[in-house]
């Protein structure tokens, strides 16, 4: 196929284009043509398709996520809000903390080890791009039935992948979840969170301003991996994925799986932190889903001018890649920085010191367009905002499912009570031997929780805690929680319960909950019932945050978690971040653990609509600890 230049696109308006295979809808394709006043080139089509995918554009969820910005509680801790790579909160003493949770569900089902590993890599780069040193990771996980054969493939691979990547980066793993439920059989949830710390003045934003400033791509070489991963893998169900083309109209199917190189990422972290320390960058963005398409368009769109990129200067791992593929490649361990010309040499020196490849691939212009060239010929000429921020927005229809009433009516009171001591015994045994109750040490023993020497609390504590200042003993705590069964019963209250649980878990350590991030895992937005769950859960979460005074600083939405017509339980996972002035005052439950547990139950949701009763056998683990009642009481007045 010959090069599809802008000139060529203007001259051949009727050439047929694989917009459908790229996951675009007919009206979306029409809109691109309208924006450009001509048909898009192949490269432009590639960019729009990945950036307008559900994963990158949040086109189905946006209208609901808006509430997180509208119902903001009074909280002066928020330094950077939703919209950036990750939110930033003030934790005092001149420190700021950034944190976020992201999903890597679909890739982890296909290739558990690499899917999970690159999930960790991606969230860590997000945090790094804010200017922060990553200091800890967490991993809320959900799998199918513990005894299902496929769980034996998925679980060990995911755990090894998270450990393999996180351990090699030197980030302590301070918490997470392991939940088993048959609803996740074909759609395991692999969420990964990261916390980063910086001084206020070190906050960096993803924007390209200052004409003449250089655009530097640094980190790994670009390869053919993960192409189409964004548009196809992360946004459609697997049935759709299997018959979709590779996304470029080319015959050869590139693998949608990315392989992570944690060693490269560790170098990238140290190199980037040194670059920050010398204040060499004007703007910075990590390359995640949608690769260079995303980084260039977002940087340019958030900046003041335009951008010009010479795509053929991008260092490649595979010389046969087409420009479209380079733009879509999701090769891991790459970053893109905007650097003033006088700092370029020093920037390169630091990269050389850390054995990191760095290349000037373009510059900021005083125009308003994102222009990309391939060996001198122009292949992209677009207003960057239309790619990055003005994607389609859907008001998808939603409706409360018919079965909701029946489900709620069928409460625990209807379950047969044990009639004999034998039955009681069997029930207690069933309860305590549930995989959801089991010790998580098979998982957590594979994670380094000591590295960096600042871990104050980690497993089996309810929240992790790290010290962030050795002199003053300032620390931060984090807990992640979610309960798909509650959320299915009542998504509004279920989301609030997840919030309240994580809030309590943080409060119980002695830290003050400050702000939250979330990872919203749901089925297909094209199903009105699922969309209703999503709408309710976001509404519940926003209301809950308003009441608790903890703003949502950012998060992630993962849709299409379903196999055929069957969606997973709606699973909003909430991460609460807390701050503690002196980690010496932290509380641990270990020392106060009495001999017998399983005697107390979690608080019931306040809403009368949802009365799950005592937590069922598969969801009780946290409730086993007496400290829970204390923690629950301490904030129940507010939740």
């Amino acid at each position: 196929m010959s090069l599809d230049t802008v000139k060529n696109a203007t001259e051949t308006p009727d050439a047929s284009q694989p917009w459908k295979e790229l996951g675009l809808k007919e009206d979306e394709y029409a809109r691109i043509r309208e924006i450009l006043g001509r048909r898009p080139t192949g490269a432009e089509l590639a960019m729009y398709s990945v950036m307008w995918s559900e994963h990158c554009s949040y086109k189905s969820s946006k209208v609901h996520l808006k509430q997180f910005g509208e119902k903001v509680p009074e909280n002066d801790a928020m330094l950077v809000g939703i919209g950036e790579n990750a939110g930033v909160v003030d934790v005092g003493q001149g420190y700021a903390v950034t944190f976020k949770v992201e999903s890597h569900n679909h890739p982890s089902y296909i290739e558990p080890y690499q899917g999970a590993a690159t999930g960790v890599g991606g969230i860590v780069r997000d945090i790094l791009a804010m200017g922060a040193r990553p200091v800890a990771v967490v991993d809320p996980l959900r799998f199918g039935a513990a005894d299902h054969p496929d769980t034996k493939r998925v679980l060990p691979g995911v755990v090894a992948g998270i450990g393999g990547y996180g351990n090699c980066l030197g980030l302590p793993n301070i918490g997470g979840e392991v939940v088993f439920d048959a609803c996740y059989q074909g759609n395991p949830l692999v969420n990964a969170g990261c916390i980063g710390v910086m001084k206020h003045e070190d906050i960096h934003l993803a924007k390209a301003s200052g004409p003449g400033n250089k655009v530097i791509l640094y980190g790994a070489r670009t390869g053919g991996d993960g192409i189409g991963g964004v548009s196809v893998l992360a946004s459609e169900t697997f049935d759709a994925a299997s018959d979709s083309a590779d996304g470029t109209g080319k015959p050869k199917k590139r693998p949608a799986v990315q392989v992570g190189d944690p060693f490269q990422e560790k170098l990238l972290i140290e190199c980037t932190l040194e670059i920050f320390k010398e204040k060499l960058v004007a703007g910075i963005q990590d390359l995640g889903g949608a690769g260079l398409s995303c980084a260039t368009s977002e940087l340019a769109s958030a900046g003041s001018g335009g951008m010009r990129v010479e795509l053929d200067t991008v260092p490649l791992r595979d010389a046969t890649l087409s420009p479209e593929e380079i733009l879509m490649s999701e090769s891991q361990e790459r970053m893109c920085a905007i650097v003033e010309p006088q700092y370029v040499d020093r920037f390169m020196e630091i990269c050389e010191k850390w054995d990191v490849i760095a290349t000037v691939i373009g510059e900021v212009t005083d125009g308003e367009r994102l222009e990309i060239f391939w060996h001198g010929e122009q292949i992209v000429d677009v207003p960057p905002g239309t790619v990055a921020h003005e994607g389609p927005v859907y008001h998808r229809p939603y409706a409360r499912p018919e079965w909701q009433d029946a489900l709620q009516a069928d409460d625990a009171g209807k379950l047969p009570r044990p009639q004999s001591s034998e039955e009681l015994r069997a029930q207690v045994l069933a309860l305590v031997s549930s995989p959801n109750q089991a010790s998580k040490s098979w998982v957590t023993d594979q994670y380094d929780r000591f590295v960096q020497g600042n871990t104050v609390l980690s497993q089996p504590e309810d929240a992790g805690m790290v010290r962030i200042d050795e002199e003053s003993n300032l620390g931060v705590a984090m807990a992640t929680d979610g309960n798909g069964r509650f959320a299915k019963l009542d998504p509004y209250t279920g989301a609030q319960l997840a919030l309240a649980e994580a809030y309590r878990n943080v409060a119980a350590t002695g830290a003050k909950p400050l702000a939250i991030s979330d990872c919203l895992n749901f089925g297909s937005p094209e199903d009105p019932g699922v969309m209703w769950q999503f709408a309710e859960a976001t509404r519940g979460l926003a209301d809950g945050c308003l009441e608790l005074g903890t703003p949502v600083t950012g998060g992630n939405v993962s849709l299409y978690n379903q196999t055929g017509d069957i969606a997973i339980h709606p699973t909003p996972v909430v991460a609460v971040l807390g701050v503690i002035d002196d980690v010496n005052r932290r509380r641990r439950w270990r020392s106060r653990r009495p001999a017998s547990c399983c005697t107390c139950w979690a608080t019931r949701p306040r809403s009368s609509a949802a009365r799950p009763g005592p937590r069922s056998s598969t969801t009780t683990s946290a409730a086993c600890r007496p400290r829970w009642t204390w923690a629950a009481r301490s904030c129940s007045a507010r939740s």
């Binding site: 290739e111 390869g223 991996d225 693998p255 799986v257 392989v259 190189d261 054995d355």
Partner: protein, 81 residues
């Protein structure tokens, strides 16, 4: 007993961080002239009974379903002389 060798290599388009790390180290150690290094796995299987077509078919199947992850890896099966 016959030995059958299954070699498993990452597909050419998949990043091979291990091979790259080795390749980058070579010049520093004074070994020049190696343009690329790929690192894979080698399985040596000691097979009971005759290694006939049926046995090879079974080993092929084993490699495909178990020894290699065909999402990212290719493999070859060879009978060792």
């Amino acid at each position: 007993m016959a030995r059958v060798v299954v070699d498993v290599m990452l597909k050419p388009e998949i990043l091979d961080p291990q091979g790259q790390a080795v390749q980058r180290a070579l010049p520093r150690l004074g070994f020049e002239g190696i343009a690329d290094v790929r690192q894979g796995k080698r399985f040596e299987l000691e097979v009971e009974g005759p290694v006939d077509q049926a046995a090879l078919d079974r080993i092929h199947k084993m490699a495909e379903t178990f020894l290699a992850n065909t999402v990212i890896e290719d493999f070859t099966v060879k009978v060792e002389a």
